[in-house]
């Protein structure tokens, strides 16, 4: 599918991780993605995806050139969506180990909570999304330990929330960009459109 004219330039934070897979998923969902590597590029972006990867690596970059502060203020006013490492960065509190985060979502999250790579899994389950069961790819995934009252839970793995939304922020502890199902990226593109 080609990009719909006039529909959102959506940034993908491209410090490290599977940002290319997110850009492809956004294109499939009708948006015009571009890669964000510097804080000044945030202004060109109507919404931002924080991809999967290593959250410690991303943090080391954000600590430089006031990127962290620029991103925190951006997240206060723009739609954002984090997957896995991106979800960790958006959470209010991070455990195992404790680390700095943007505190956009009222969530406590634990890194590598399901174990190491041999414990990674693909799970298919019903969710709040229309259109039937959803495939969810978990890779060295974090676990959401608790959520605040304003957080809407859209999908669970057993009892744990794995897809959540709070206002204009979304997060998944799995990797929708690694599946061919584009419902979640379409939902984010819709969210960006609704905030214009």
């Amino acid at each position: 599918m080609t990009a719909t004219p006039g529909l959102g330039r959506i940034g993908v934070l491209a410090i490290q991780g599977d940002y290319a897979a997110h850009a492809e998923a956004l294109s499939d969902a009708g948006a015009s993605p571009f890669l964000v590597r510097k804080p000044e590029q945030l202004q060109e972006s109507e919404g931002l995806i924080l991809p999967g990867g290593e959250s410690t690596t991303m943090l080391r970059f954000l600590e430089k050139h006031n990127f962290f502060e620029a991103l925190r203020s951006y997240c206060g006013t723009h739609p954002v969506f984090g997957t896995c490492a991106g979800a960790i960065l958006l959470s209010r509190e991070v455990r195992n180990p404790a680390q700095q985060s943007l505190a956009v979502l009222d969530v406590v999250i634990e890194r590598n909570a399901y174990g190491r790579q041999i414990d990674s899994a693909i799970v298919t389950a019903d969710t709040e999304l229309a259109g039937g069961p959803l495939e969810m790819v978990f890779i060295r995934a974090p676990r959401i330990l608790s959520v605040g009252p304003d957080v809407e839970i859209l999908a669970r793995r057993d009892q744990d929330p794995v897809l959540i939304r709070q206002g204009h922020a979304m997060a998944a502890t799995f990797h929708p960009e690694l599946s061919l199902d584009r419902r979640i990226h379409r939902a984010f593109v819709e969210l960006v459109r609704s905030k214009r």
Binding site: M1, A14, I15, Q16, G17, D18, Y19, A20, A21, D28, R37, G52, G53, E54, T56, T57, R60, F61, C84, A85, N96, P97, R111, N112, R116, Q117, I118, S120, A121, I122, V137, I139, R140, H175, L178, L180
Partner: protein, 317 residues
Amino acid sequence: MPDANGKHQIANTQLRLKVGLAEMLKGGVIMDVMNVEQARIAEEAGAVSVMALERVPAMIRAEGGVARMARPALIKQIIAAVSIPVMAKTRIGHFAEAQILQELGVDFIDESEVLTPADEAHHIDKHAFTTPFVCGARNLGEALRRIAEGAAMIRTKGEAGTGDVVHAVQHMRQIVREMKGLTVLSDQELFAAAKEHQAPYELIRIVAQTGKLPVPNFSAGGIATPADAALMMQLGAEAIFVGSGIFMKERATPLDVERNASERNEAVSRAKAIVAATTHFNDPKVLAEVSEQVTGTMKGLAAAALDEAQLLQTRGW
């Protein structure tokens, strides 16, 4: 099977999870470490993963002897010390070492030509493992043979332990050139191409359709400076392995990061600079800044001066 958007998805769930972890490492730097302190420095500098090993390639090259899998105790200490994924090397064909590494909870296994090969004909059947594998390659045929055996990530072999990037460049250029070459062939010609590359027809066909490997393509072997990392990324590498380039001082002497503060700082400065150069590989302004911050580089060994018998890259088949 291609879907409505014409995309391929790997059918095997296990392999999707393995490739999935490789996807998460893209755009990052994987650093060889020989002790807990080096692993901490690597994580602190922004490495996406560390490779736990007994001796880095430059030391193996200088000291000789049989190079084997690292001690389990060392691997466990490193796993306990960092939150990023931990890799470890097994000898080519040594599936029992690989079984031990999987049992230890290593996140990625490198079936590596840097260690002394254990089998002169067979690589490990990597489908038999839950843990993903990375393997080295010098050309497309070698890469696809490793993928057929179950590798979830390919890296150029380069010439490890030299600090000379010339062979990594040669291998990356060759793999990219051979992939491009397949995209212009007709369906009938692909059968002969499979024979020529000594690789399975099914994989040849996927490369011909997509123009890229079905698994991530990283670079290793002689990368020692931020500029080397940027060079390999611009040539098409999706991430960078740095072996001897960060923690070595002289040919066979590592920087003393545990007791000498200035040598520790030097390792930190090299590690941070290579990480920054890998992210901003296309931005010469940033590359100039980070290159200026590096306080030293391993001395290195010109790969052209090595005898054929000293090459590590010719191991593996």
